[in-house]
């Protein structure tokens, strides 16, 4: 049990009092703190306790990929981690990748250009997954792109436009890295280390 755990009222309608942990988490470069029981999933901690509702919760058993966030830069399912365990890590959510319609990340811009989303529910998970993927694989083939998104479900698009968005995002990253082209910024605007 964590040394700074305190007893408090139950949440989510649980009748018994549960031990609350003071959970400190670095999210999108900002140190955040909130009290939550040990069983609080990272996905719920982000959404309910930190009010970062960009991370979406679909299946809650690791299949759909909607809740994917970056943990130390690596995509992981936030519904399959406890917030209390995540404390040692740097978390990047969709809000940290880009939260300004005027300054979208390459992946966000590619999704807009390629119509890679319809209802948008699955999109945060795709954007986090693809952002990390392109960091390690800057020039993927369409086949690579399919493999990269194989762990994320979309019920609207039929995936074709998402695959196209992966390739387009790779292009945008290259364009933004070439200084002087249309005055484009040099970095790819990802927040976090």
């Amino acid at each position: 049990m964590s040394a700074d755990a305190t007893t408090g009222g139950g949440t989510h309608g649980e009748p018994t009092a549960e031990v609350l942990h003071r959970i400190r988490l670095r999210v999108n470069g900002v140190q955040r703190t909130a009290q939550a029981p040990a069983r609080r999933l990272l996905s719920d901690f982000l959404r309910h306790d930190l009010r970062l509702t960009g991370t979406h919760v679909g299946c809650e058993h690791g299949v759909c990929g909607a809740c994917t966030v970056l943990v130390d830069g690596q995509p992981m399912r936030s519904c399959l981690m406890f917030a209390v365990t995540a404390q040692a890590h740097e978390i990047t959510t969709i809000e940290g990748i880009g939260n300004d319609p005027e300054a979208m990340s390459p992946v966000q811009q590619a999704f807009a250009e390629c119509h890679g989303l319809q209802c948008g529910f699955c999109t945060p998970g795709f954007v986090t997954t693809i952002t990390a993927y392109l960091d390690g694989n800057p020039d993927p083939t369409p086949e690579d792109a399919r493999e990269a998104i194989s762990g994320n479900l979309c019920r609207c698009t039929g995936y074709q436009n998402i695959v196209a968005a992966v390739s387009r995002a790779a292009e945008i990253r290259r364009e933004r890295r070439s200084p002087g082209v249309d005055g484009a910024p040099v970095d790819d605007s990802r927040v976090g280390p």
Binding site: P37, H61, T68, V71, M76, R77, V84, T85, S150
Partner: protein
């Protein structure tokens, strides 16, 4: 779809971990990567009163390659082992199999040792551990013991682990020089649970097959090794399997596996799939440019 309440323990050492496990007894469960456990908790198929979270325990995250084995600590993530160049050089089968373990986001968190301790018949790494004659290193506050992989698995999701024991590491034994390996599986969607899968190891000396063995995913209740040599007389590298050999092989595999049908595939289809995948895996392992061919 939320876990039931539990007491969270965050030990920093193996000694602390086994002390807590001994203390909480049958109501405790080890949490490492959690990629199989947390879904069970979320769906309340399991509701242990105590989770012993080993993610902060020092010294469990090493991959050690020796002349005899590749030793994988309890906190080594699938993705870390998959990328490890020394582990790949020593035992290419590890990476060949790990590429098939769920999706990258799951491999980034899930541990190879956890997947073995979980003992799901659909798990890839139990099959690989058994095929390499691997060893499970088990520790408790009472004792320390080593269990041969073939004795470790008792049934689906069931092992010889006692409630107060922790798997500290597993050792995949390195294969004889000249051994070629391949891993193939078939799933409805790449990365999902396989309908059937196979790992093969073929020892080749002077272009001739000396021994050949296989273990299976999703079609046997526990991973066991099938000796393919009776079907492989005269097979050579670089040549396609002769039709007669292939027929014998199919019969051998069909007799060995015990698949169950479900919504994804009938038992008969899985049996056929296991045989076909074994043929293809052998073909891949015997090809001139097989990965890891020595």
């Amino acid at each position: 779809m939320k876990p039931a309440p539990f007491v969270h323990h965050a030990p920093r050492t193996v000694d602390e971990t086994v002390a807590v496990l001994a203390d909480v007894g049958h109501d405790g469960k080890v949490l490492a990567g959690g990629q199989s456990l947390v879904p069970l908790l979320n769906m309340r198929l399991a509701s242990p009163g105590h989770l012993v979270d080993v993610n902060g325990v020092d010294g469990l995250d090493a991959v050690d390659v020796t002349d005899a084995s590749v030793r994988v600590g309890a906190l080594v993530r699938h993705a870390g082992l998959e990328r490890d160049p020394a582990a790949f050089a020593a035992l290419p089968l590890l990476r060949q199999a790990l590429r098939n373990v769920a999706h990258p986001a799951i491999r980034n968190r899930g541990t190879t040792v956890g997947s073995i301790a979980h003992a799901d018949p659909a798990g890839e790494m139990p099959a690989v551990l058994v095929l390499t004659d691997g060893v499970v290193e088990v520790v408790s506050s009472r004792s320390r013991r080593e269990v041969a992989a073939r004795d470790f698995f008792l049934g689906p999701l069931e092992t010889t682990l006692a409630q107060d024991e922790l798997v500290e590491a597993v050792r995949f034994a390195r294969l004889a020089p000249g051994t070629r390996t391949a891993f193939l599986e078939s799933a409805r969607r790449h990365g999902d649970y396989a309908m059937a899968g196979v790992a093969v190891a073929v020892e080749v000396v002077d272009g001739e097959v000396r021994s050949a063995r296989a273990s299976f995913v999703s079609v046997t209740p526990v991973p066991t090794v099938l000796d393919l040599a009776p079907a492989l007389g005269g097979a050579a590298t670089g040549a396609p399997l002769r039709a007669a050999v292939a027929d014998d092989l199919v019969a051998l595999v069909r007799d060995h596996v015990e698949p169950e049908g479900d919504i994804h595939a009938t038992a008969g289809y899985r049996r056929m799939l296991a045989a076909e995948l074994t043929k293809r895996a052998l073909g891949a392992a015997l090809a001139e440019d097989a990965e890891g061919a020595a």
